[in-house]
Symmetry: C2
Subunit: 136 residues, 2 copies
DNA sequence: TTTCATTTTTGTAATCATTACAAATATATA
DNA sequence: TATATATTTGTAATGATTACAAAAATGAAA
């Protein structure tokens, strides 16, 4: 956990003023590593910050995404999830237990056929199936 | 367009009773090839079928997806899109013109590192960027 | 064809995630 | 301290989707 000691500084480096709420939200993402929904973050943090508003979570995550220190995970239709790991990696969702797994893959091996001269800025690779723990 | 002449038969082959509405929805998907939203389909078809309900579009698409003759495209957070092409292919969305492009890629050489013994059932590859027509 | 059961469609209301917006609070600066 | 700016909060609005029950269509049996 490279951020653990100084999330405030990390936010500053990325031109985000480190308010108490912002630090808490980022801390949650880094500590849990669970690709949470807005609701999961809110339910947890409202224990620490009784006046917390869900709008703040939305605002904060929007800001983090704009500053590219958080990425959006849209593996399911209905729920947007968030990830403090912005390096190139994919997501696997187990249809039995519902758990989300990270995995690494080589972008260069995708060998995309028919997008000559397109400028690719973002890549999202989502897999669904059965995870090793749910296999009988 | 391999379905053009007999969408009814194609639905039957896939154990779906070919009602008028179902045929029209599938016809739309095949003819347009535009990865439409529910709203796009509804707005077009309500011209032919004045009594059409948006719930019918939702029901019909859900049925098509369950019977695997239509796939879901979730490249944008807010809008679910649908595709009558269920073969393995990816989707590119241009952030300038908003157009969706299909592309082919090789699933086999993804060389995924850390999902040993996972059963992969679905793959979604989404790219964002600038399409060739929007490049200056 | 008529009757009855089943399937499909329709319309309305409910749900749920997200956004808009303005007031309240906190922070930074002069 | 006074003032401007940024952030947070709470409520209301939006918009996609789902739930649900009534209406309509379809199919089978008599």
């Amino acid at each position: 956990m490279k951020f653990e000691s100084n999330i405030g500084d990390y936010l500053k480096e990325n031109e985000i003023k480190p308010s108490f709420q912002r630090i808490k939200v980022f801390e949650y993402l880094v500590d849990k590593m669970n690709h949470p929904t807005v609701d999961m973050i809110y339910k947890e943090l409202v224990n620490d910050i009784p006046t917390l508003s869900k709008t703040t979570i939305y605002n904060t995550l929007k800001l983090f995404v704009e500053h590219k220190i958080v990425s959006v995970v849209n593996i399911e239709d209905n729920e947007t999830r968030y990830d403090a790991d912005v390096s190139n990696h994919g997501h696997f969702k187990c249809s039995k237990c519902g758990k989300l797994y990270d995995f690494n893959y080589e972008n260069s091996n995708l060998s995309i056929k028919n997008l000559q001269n397109f400028k690719i800025e973002k890549t999202h690779l989502y897999l669904n199936g059965i995870c090793v723990n749910c296999m009988d």
